[in-house]
């Protein structure tokens, strides 16, 4: 299966380990993975700040890098959602449609396309599950506490295949962490308060790690945890699924 690996800009720059884990995991599962070398950013930071008129350059570059792939996979629900909902510029409109239909968040790709039922992974730790909003409410990667509907979670389905892992959920199972893109600096006080409150619920569960499908949430929570001097670490879902003893 030919996969174009889409690595969000801030993961490329600050969290290469998340990208490496995603790459290795996909290879391990038999995918033929290409990494388009001139990719940058999906354009979400501008668009969510009200500047979608400035994303043309990112759109064009994204299409140039990712046209022609059977599947495009990224370890980020948020960036995938942006591509699906807001990618609008490209040389050929049929490329846009094809890209929107073939772009997948990692857990979605593993569960729905690769139909993974077992993993050679081991992570004997207590892990708190943070549900990233855009993947959940935008891409429907898991059920949502607001709706009257059957429960499911693609991330949990995968984490349950990891040997030794004990998954723990906070009381408010899917409340936002407060990152919110530019919100994290322009509404700094609310953003941090939301993050602190999420962390508080995980600490009650005595977790060693907090995991999520989006590194942006984790970067925000990690910043707060480190300031608090906490020993709790953040780890992306891909890193856990790629861990072998």
């Amino acid at each position: 299966m030919k996969v174009g690996l889409f690595i969000p800009c801030y993961i490329d720059q600050f969290y290469p380990d998340v990208a490496i884990a995603t790459y290795q995991l996909l290879k391990k599962l038999g995918c033929e993975v290409s990494y388009p070398m001139d990719q940058t950013c999906c354009g979400q930071p501008m668009a969510n700040s009200g500047f979608s008129n400035l994303t043309k350059g990112c759109d064009v570059n994204f299409v140039k890098n990712f046209r022609g792939f059977e599947y495009i996979v990224a370890p980020s629900g948020s960036c995938v959602l942006h591509i699906k909902e807001h990618l609008k510029e490209g040389a050929d409109p049929s490329d846009l449609q094809k890209i929107r239909e073939s772009v997948y968040e990692l857990s979605e790709f593993l569960v729905d396309i690769l139909k993974v039922t077992r993993l050679e992974a081991s992570f004997p730790h207590k892990v708190g599950m943070h549900v990233s909003c855009h993947g959940q409410r935008g891409l429907h990667l898991s059920s949502m506490s607001e709706l009257v509907a059957p429960e499911f979670s693609k991330a949990e389905q995968l984490l349950n295949m990891v040997e030794g892992l004990e998954l723990l959920k906070p009381v408010r199972v899917d409340e936002c962490c407060g990152f919110g893109g530019a919100f994290c600096v322009f509404e700094e006080a609310v953003s941090v308060k939301m993050g602190k409150d999420r962390i508080k619920e995980h600490l009650v569960n005595d977790v060693e790690f907090i995991t999520a499908g989006d590194t942006s949430c984790l970067m925000h929570l990690e910043g707060i945890l480190n300031r608090q001097g906490s020993s709790v670490k953040t780890i992306h879902l891909a890193e856990i699924l790629n861990k072998v003893l």
Partner: protein, 454 residues
Amino acid sequence: MNVKQHAEAAEEFIRDEARTDWHDETLWFVRDKRDIAVNKLPEWEILRDWASRIKDHTLSNLDHYLKSFEEKAVSNGIIVHWATDAEDHNRIIHKIIADNKIDKIVKSKSMLTEECHLNEYLQSKGIKILDSDLGEYIVQLREETPSHIVLPAIHLKRQDVSETFHEHLNTEKGNYDPQYLAGAARHHLRERFIEADLAITGVNFAIAESGSFVVCTNEGNADMGVHAANIHIACMGIEKLIPKTDHLGVFLRLLARSATGQPITTYSSHFNKPRPGQQMHMVIVDNGRSRQLGRPDFRNSLKCIRCAACFNTCPVYRKSGGHSYHSAVAGPIGSILNPNLDMKANSDLPFASTLCGSCSNVCPVKIDIHQQLWKWRQIIVANGNVEKGKKVGMQGMAWVLSNPQVYRISGKIGRWVMRTFPFMLSNRLNAWYKQREMPRAPEKSFRDWFIENK
């Protein structure tokens, strides 16, 4: 008056962290009650879908239903007035009061009259209205505005209420017993109900086929006012219509469950016609609603039935308080309604959200609130209601991210600076760093690793 922007007002609110936690937990409790109530109805999502579609249909045929309502209401004996805007609404009400030489007025909760600033208008004419909803009564005594459309005094603790009542109603100092305090308010309000000559109410639903309308309260205060007074004025936005009485079954089931987790509001009072000797007026108000109806991206915000479920679920609202939205209607729904009323004054509100989407999920009429927040951001920026520094920053970022080579070099330099001179970013000028550590800047990007290891 210099109104504080949401971020600044929220920062002040959060400074009292214990109180913020209390506010957050109190409202989460309401969200929780809502979850329990809606999960008892297997048909919940179907009801939401019906409500959404009934409102879609009504909004698409609003002219027809408004005319039908007016015709039926008039034939029932209701005097119908049309108000283009807030001032018109206030003037009409003032005229009714003046023509009948009234000075004892009670008003049950109506967010429309808050939106139109009716109290202030009448006060400027020397007329004082008594707000009879307990929460509104409390905030009125304190000369504040409601911080929540269903729970107007939710920002206050019982200790605050006790102090306010001690000052205004001469209750015992330090008696925080809710029952005692509610009893004191009831006693005081009862007298006002009896002596009132005119009662103002809002409207939850108006039925086009019958010309009747429904007012929902939990305290019965609308009924107390209306039954004792000789004149009833009901104030309604044009979007409150539903075509048929049958449709009430959908909306009444959704409203109270969404608002407070109750199966139904304690009082759902149906008004059809004035009783003998009574005057019944209905003021139907546009105040920007037809403008919103004309915006394809935002028209369905007019489906709102003012349940406030989006307030209770919104972590930003819970942690920043209703007053930080500086508007009659706060919370996520307020953030998509208020820019229509005054885009410049409310340009901060669509940004007071992480776009988490929880609001859209709890909305009983399925308004795509978070999508509309995103769309308002685009319009606000396109209209120039944005700080220059932010605009320049975004332009710079867009340029860097549009050019792969520039992106890679900037990344490399940026990471090197962070490692070599951490204080360049780890300082007070950086809002991220105020309460969070910076991420570790690795020597190599993923791309660098990939070139070496693929």
